[in-house]
Subunit: 147 residues, 2 copies
């Protein structure tokens, strides 16, 4: 290694290329944690406008109906680009405080303006139309994420 560095050091262009690549490599390897460790403060967190959507489906809705609706909701991020993050899951709380709500969808927007694009977006409205016949109850709460 010493001899390599030594040999490279005698060639200025190679040396600077080597140092630059080494720097990028080091930054690249540790980058995600180092950079994010600094950035993931309250300020970054507050850029997340969370949109929590909870559903209870009708007792007459079949598992296939529910799956079709879940799949349709999961397609929205590919149809509506203001959705900056999306996740969902099925309730498994042991606390008995779900009030019958079985499915949670957590959407994230970067601004209230983005949410204002999402809510009346044709793809969202089309989803709501196919959802309606199967919806027993919906609870929706939005918030700016703070720590």
């Amino acid at each position: 290694m010493t001899s390599v560095l030594h040999s490279i050091a005698r060639r200025p262009l190679q040396a600077s290329l080597f140092v630059a690549l080494l720097g990028i490599a080091i930054l690249g390897s540790f980058g995600p944690e180092v950079v994010r460790g600094q950035a993931q403060t309250d300020q970054e967190a507050s850029k997340m406008l969370r949109h929590v959507v909870l559903f209870q489906f009708k007792p007459t809705s079949t598992p296939a109906d529910v799956q079709r609706l879940v799949d349709a909701f999961r397609k929205l991020p590919s149809q509506i680009d203001v959705i900056s993050d999306f996740e969902y899951g099925v309730n498994n709380s042991p606390e008995g405080l779900d009030g019958g709500l079985t499915h949670c969808f957590l959407l994230t927007f970067k601004s209230e303006a983005d949410r204002a694009v999402y809510l009346p977006h044709p793809a969202h409205l089309a989803f709501v139309e196919i959802l309606k016949p199967h919806l027993e109850k919906a609870t929706v709460v939005d918030y700016w994420a703070a720590k």
Copy 2:
């Protein structure tokens, strides 16, 4: 650049070092997106057990009461180490589907075992005790986050 590569190519150790660094540099620069694009599949997402807690406080509870309770909840991550992530916020949904729920707390656990530590944890139970007199309604839904 060609002459540098040419010159390096004549020195096998330097060449492999150069190629390795170039590879790491490229991977490092694009890493966060490329690596995560692959990793942030259901498998990675499913390591997050979300615990969504929604509160409506009693109409007799003052803003100071509510703030005291919010602050007490926010202290739990420093008291209960199985809480791997915590955020909260005040509802600002324009959809009118909040059912009176005004505050959302989103806790994340890494396993159901961690949740089983949290639920009966003395610090959590102490919080519930000071919460009770002010709680009109609570809705709690947990889910393994999937995409």
